[in-house]
């Protein structure tokens, strides 16, 4: 039986973790946010407070849902003795970090606690393989950045995930005002996989001299895309985009469709990562 006390443990207080915590807190849930670094927890608290304030001002969340949110938020370096209904992991994208974490979570929490990873690129079945006691209660909840504004959540079932994980995940995120879509556990899941040509073919066209990057953006923006591929790579981070392509490429056993592009690698070497470094394909000085 699932625990029904509405407590969610979120592990990792970076951009994604704090976003997930903010959304849960905005819908009446209790949240325990885990991060080993105190200064990170303090930053997360500030960010959540500002985020909820803005969302209230803009009418994106209800006053009832956010009522007493700060009393429902606890933070700490660990989760011991808590009894959550869900644990959502949002730590950096590294199997070396996620694998041991899921082994520990699987050992410490009873079978009724759902364990979810917010991974964007690591195979769920590989994570399940690290939770050998009850792998069927492990699955993926892939939120998109910025979490409070992006409606989509990919619900990922690994090879051993129980069907009721999927239905519980849908119920959870629908209750948070999100749109869940169940996707298979294949490299890149659905969105990041289908999106690859948008970036990779654009990069190849520039290299081949078919079009330059600014004109390429102009063509796609003229066709209704909010951002052309190069402006979007600058926003997301050229390094982040490159690492997703690299991950999909490796996990598909080097399928040439997903081969990362040298132009991105060169930009990374130069530190031209996009908006965050004030220079990517465009300059933001």
């Amino acid at each position: 039986m699932m625990n029904t006390d509405n407590l969610i443990i979120v592990i990792g207080s970076g951009t994604m973790g704090r976003g997930i915590a903010q959304v849960a807190l905005s819908h009446g849930f209790r949240v325990h946010l885990v991060d080993s670094v105190q200064s990170q927890r303090e930053l997360a608290h500030k960010s959540i407070s500002q985020g909820i304030g803005r969302a209230l001002e803009n009418g994106q969340v209800s006053p009832e849902g956010t009522l007493n949110w700060s009393e429902r938020l606890t933070m700490g370096p660990d989760w011991h003795s808590l009894k959550p209904s869900w644990v959502i992991e949002a730590i950096p994208e590294s199997m070396d970090l996620k694998g041991p974490l899921f082994t520990k979570l699987d050992e410490e929490f009873g079978e009724s606690v759902w364990l979810a990873s917010n991974t964007s690129s690591i195979a769920l079945t590989a994570i399940q393989g690290m939770a050998t006691r009850f792998p069927h209660r492990v699955g993926g909840l892939h939120f998109f950045n910025p979490v409070p504004r992006m409606a989509l959540v990919e619900v990922i079932a690994g090879m051993a995930t129980a069907p009721n994980f999927v239905s519980a995940a849908h119920d959870l995120v629908k209750g948070w005002g999100k749109e869940p879509v169940t996707v298979p556990d294949r490299p890149g899941f659905l969105v990041n996989r289908v999106a690859r040509p948008y970036y990779l073919e654009a990069l190849r066209m520039v290299e081949e001299g078919v079009v330059d990057y600014a004109d390429c953006d102009r063509i796609f923006e003229g066709a209704g895309f909010p951002m052309g591929p190069f402006r979007l790579m600058d926003l997301v981070g050229i390094d982040v985009n490159f690492s997703v392509s690299q991950s999909v490429f490796e996990q598909t056993f080097y399928d040439p469709r997903y081969r990362p592009h040298a132009l991105q690698q060169n930009k990374i070497w130069l530190g031209h990562l996009g908006r965050k470094s004030k220079r990517g394909f465009y300059s933001y000085e």
Partner: protein, 225 residues
């Protein structure tokens, strides 16, 4: 020469083109027709290549002075120019951008985008910007959209619904349409023709998904048919 624009290709194009010009637009359906010399002929068909070639040869002989805007996303403009007399009057374009009434349309022309061509298109049409690109199959827009559709077919074959795929891509990526909604606009076989052309010219990664190949076979559509 009359003051009329003749179009053959997808049926949705006629009204879209008419919205951008004060000239009279004659929609010829899939086949060119006899009549007074048009000011401009638009061939928006992608293939099959032998049929496209025969139609263009016929058009070029019938209307030896008329400027021709031809879809070059499946056959290079350079190739098509070898099919006709007075080849310098032919300009390549991507009909998909015209079909969705995009703000910027891509054109392929000689190394230097001919001033005469540019001025003529700007005079005939209002509200469209013309962007010159290199002459390459896939052009720019179709080169990205066709592989997006191809990728999504793997999910269709796994039982994911069209609705879920479209919803995920629109919400997750802010694309104006989901990948399967593009196929509703262009037709899945037309997507297959673009993929076939790119597969031939640019490599294995554009091989059409088996579901697209099956659909093309059922409709009897093939680039070389």
């Amino acid at each position: 020469m009359s003051d009329m624009i003749a179009v053959f290709g997808p049926g949705t194009l006629g009204p879209i083109i008419q919205r951008h010009t004060s000239k009279e637009v004659h929609f010829w359906g899939n086949d060119p027709q006899q009549g007074p010399d048009p000011l401009l002929i638009i061939d928006a068909t992608l293939g099959p290549v032998p049929i496209k070639r025969d139609r263009l040869r016929w058009v070029a002989e019938q209307y030896p002075q008329t400027l021709i805007l031809t879809a070059s996303s499946t056959v290079l403009l350079a190739t098509q120019r070898r099919w006709i007399t007075n080849p310098e009057r032919m300009i390549g374009f991507d009909p998909w951008l015209m079909q969705i009434d995009a703000r910027v349309l891509t054109v392929a022309d000689d190394g230097e985008w001919r001033l005469f061509h540019r001025e003529m298109l700007s005079q005939i049409f209002s509200g469209w910007q013309w962007q010159k690109i290199a002459d390459q199959v896939g052009a720019v827009f179709a080169r990205v959209i066709a592989p997006l559709v191809n990728e999504s077919m793997a999910y269709v074959s796994m039982g994911i619904t069209h609705e879920d795929i479209n919803q995920a891509v629109k919400l997750g990526l802010n694309h104006p349409k989901g990948p399967l909604q593009w196929t509703e606009v262009f037709g899945i076989s037309q997507v297959g023709l673009v993929l076939q052309a790119m597969h031939r010219g640019m490599g294995e990664r554009f091989l059409p998904h088996p579901l697209i190949q099956r659909q093309m076979a059922e409709e009897g559509v093939n680039l070389d048919a």
